[in-house]
Amino acid sequence: MTDASKETAREGAGAAPSPEPPILGIPKMPPPDYPPEVRERLTADAKEIVARYPDSRSALLPLLHLVQSEEGHVTRTGQRFCAETLGLTTAEVNAVATFYTMYRRKPSGDYQVGVCTNTLCAVLGGDAIFERLQEHLGVGNSETTEDGKVTLEHIECNAACDYAPVVMVNWEFFDNQTPDSATELVDELRAGSRVEPTRGAPLCTFKETARILAGFPDTREGAVEASGGAGHASLAGLRLAKGEAPPAGERVVAPRDAEEGE
């Protein structure tokens, strides 16, 4: 192995920064390769992924999840690996990798804490939660705490509006949050406690989550069963249909114009 390739191999493993500063902001081509043992392991995984599809290019999204599971974000090395696996150019891979928000483009935390700030969650308190967490963690959107544990970001609607406001950690559901509960949550994550979502499995790291997204089932015992069949809001209709009385509340309100007259 030449000295140059040793250096690039180190960079590929995420261990050392590039020895030469990029010229005009353009990093040196080609991107460094993975160390041989990493490459060998990923090649076996990639083969399994590619085999799922009639056309190999369909494997690109799962492959990007796979390389993200290796380094915690999609590196140039990871993109090169995808390109070589699928017979694409790194430019083609880069065009795809930068289109999708789930691929991280810089080193980030073990736990990605996403606060839904789309309209419904925002109105019901998502904005307040996000603001509190920024203050509490001392980071802004898409920034990571100094200990490398938590990356905070605001996310779009995550299909859990009946549990609003919602916080996602590594894409597991933390339903019906408040600023206080979310603060406790990130404190626990930073302390390394075992954290269980409202719906989903006990948290694993972001890298481990990315591997599930690449299509490799979660092999941890009890992961599929964790948190039970359905959340409380999912069962609201069924319980009502089975005769459980609705909560005492107000009936539907009068039209707007009628307010003064009442």
Binding site: V96, M102, T119, D162, P165, I212, G243, P246
Partner: protein, 453 residues
């Protein structure tokens, strides 16, 4: 999903009809054992004995319409697949549920993934496909786990794999996780994404039925549409048509969220009204009044309390000037600033615009700038006219429906709440306190102090 259960034993008011959700309260509803105990995988036996064309005709006669938003008849979509063309046919299930407010497919797949798997087997028999895909949005890992498990079980039991559809007729099912892009819910963008490209919509024609995945005939169906097929086959089209209306028959999941007393999933015949649903579920949160709501996600024009008696089916909501969409009933009470709500949705559309066409890419950007100014009290009356003008240039002039969706909340809110926009302009800012609209605003001890948004 046994033949005799549930539908006739509806709620005290006779309003609800749990079918897909009928056993979600069991201990392990996602397992094949539970699903079978409730009659699961008996429809597939029936269906595989039918001639594929007869099966398509049956689903068409039943009147099942797409549950993903557009409401296109499912059987007709299947019928469009050319036969005897010697090309592979594909079924792609759209599980990219991302429309703001929409939260039905994710809980459905979390609790009852086998209804989808069985529906897929039936649909693949009908359209003569030997490879199906589930395109699940990536941000739902708990659902991905259960889909992996359900598909594993189905392979193990022979519902998938070699000879699954009969001798010499194999069926593969691939679970594919997306990577975060709302636009991939648009069927042609989804297909590009599934081919490993940026998720950008394709020009139509050709339609996916002719040239879809890998340029082969492809059916793209929503999760709930396909998951509804086994019950339809098992209990019959007459049963299916006994619910809903002539043009909108059947049952569906309504997702109630926001400032309501009891948010959640309510499975009912199509055509119930918002008033019935709110009456049965305790209405709005105590002490508050409904101000505006969406019938099917943020891309469907908002409605107000004037529309509480609109039948929530395709025709009824259409007649009220909106769309049934995904039946995502997001309810906002009088504490909510409509300008804030619409600005946030517009920021979403700008963020999710794929950039392919100019009206949407540029229009949504400028709409956000103007709406932020309105919300902050920095806009003029001219800006309100400009917002409407830009929205008009996005609506119907964009490559795909994302542009129409972006314009919908703007037009509808301007129609019903114009004075509130003007109030922001003349009053120099937002007259609402966001602290009053939080989920905890009315809890004892909450002094609205912790929010400074």
């Amino acid at each position: 999903m046994s033949v005799e259960t549930q539908v006739d034993e509806t709620s005290p008011s006779g309003l609800l009809s749990p079918v897909l959700s009928a056993f979600w309260d069991e201990a392990e509803p996602w397992t094949m054992a539970t699903y079978r105990r409730h009659g699961g995988y008996s429809a597939v036996r029936k269906a595989l004995e039918m001639d594929p064309d007869d099966l398509i005709a049956y689903v068409k006669d039943a009147g099942l319409r797409g549950r993903g938003g557009a409401g296109f008849p499912t059987g007709m979509k299947w019928q469009f697949i050319p036969q005897g063309d010697d090309k592979p046919h594909y079924l792609v299930v759209n599980a990219d549920e991302s429309e703001p407010g929409t939260c039905k497919d994710i809980p459905l797949l979390f609790a009852n993934p086998h209804s989808l798997v069985e529906g897929i087997v039936i649909a693949c028999h009908a359209i003569r496909s030997s490879h199906a895909f589930i395109y699940l949005r990536g941000e739902a890992v708990p659902v991905l786990r259960r889909l992996h498990e359900a598909v594993r079980e189905a392979y193990q039991e022979g519902y998938l794999g070699k000879d699954a559809l009969g001798p010499g007729r194999d069926l593969e099912l691939t679970v594919h996780a997306g990577a975060g892009a709302y636009i991939c819910g648009e069927e042609t963008a989804l297909l590009d994404s599934l081919e490993g490209r940026r998720g950008q919509p394709r020009l139509r024609p050709p339609f996916p039925a002719v040239a879809g995945l890998y340029a082969c005939p492809t059916v793209v169906n929503n999760v709930e549409s396909i998951a509804s097929v086994p019950a339809l086959i098992e209990r019959g089209k007459e049963w299916f048509r006994s619910m809903g209306s002539e043009k909108s028959p059947g049952f569906t999941l309504y997702s109630l969220s926001g400032h309501v007393a009891r948010p959640g999933q309510y499975e009912a015949p199509l055509g119930i009204t918002m008033r019935q649903l709110l009456d049965a579920t305790g209405g709005m949160r105590p002490g508050h009044r409904l101000k505006f709501w969406t019938p099917g996600g943020s891309s469907t024009p908002m409605l107000t309390d004037e529309h509480l008696d609109t039948p929530l089916d395709y025709e009824g909501v259409g007649a009220a000037g909106s769309m049934l969409g995904t039946k995502a009933l997001q309810c906002f009470d009088e504490t909510t600033c409509v300008v804030r709500a619409v600005t946030r949705w517009t920021e979403f559309y700008a963020h999710e615009s794929c950039g392919k066409c100019t009206p949407c890419r540029e229009g949504t950007y400028w709409l956000v700038q103007l709406l932020r100014d309105v919300e902050a009290g920095k806009a003029s009356r001219d800006d309100l006219a400009k917002i409407e003008d830009i929205a008009d240039n996005v609506n119907g002039k964009s490559f795909c429906a994302l542009g129409d969706g972006a314009a919908a909340p703007i037009f509808s809110s301007m129609k019903f709440f114009r004075e509130e926009y003007e109030q922001h302009v003349t009053g120099g800012g937002c007259p609402f306190d966001p602290a009053h609209s939080t989920a905890w605003a009315d809890r004892p001890g909450s002094a609205h102090l912790e929010v400074n948004a």
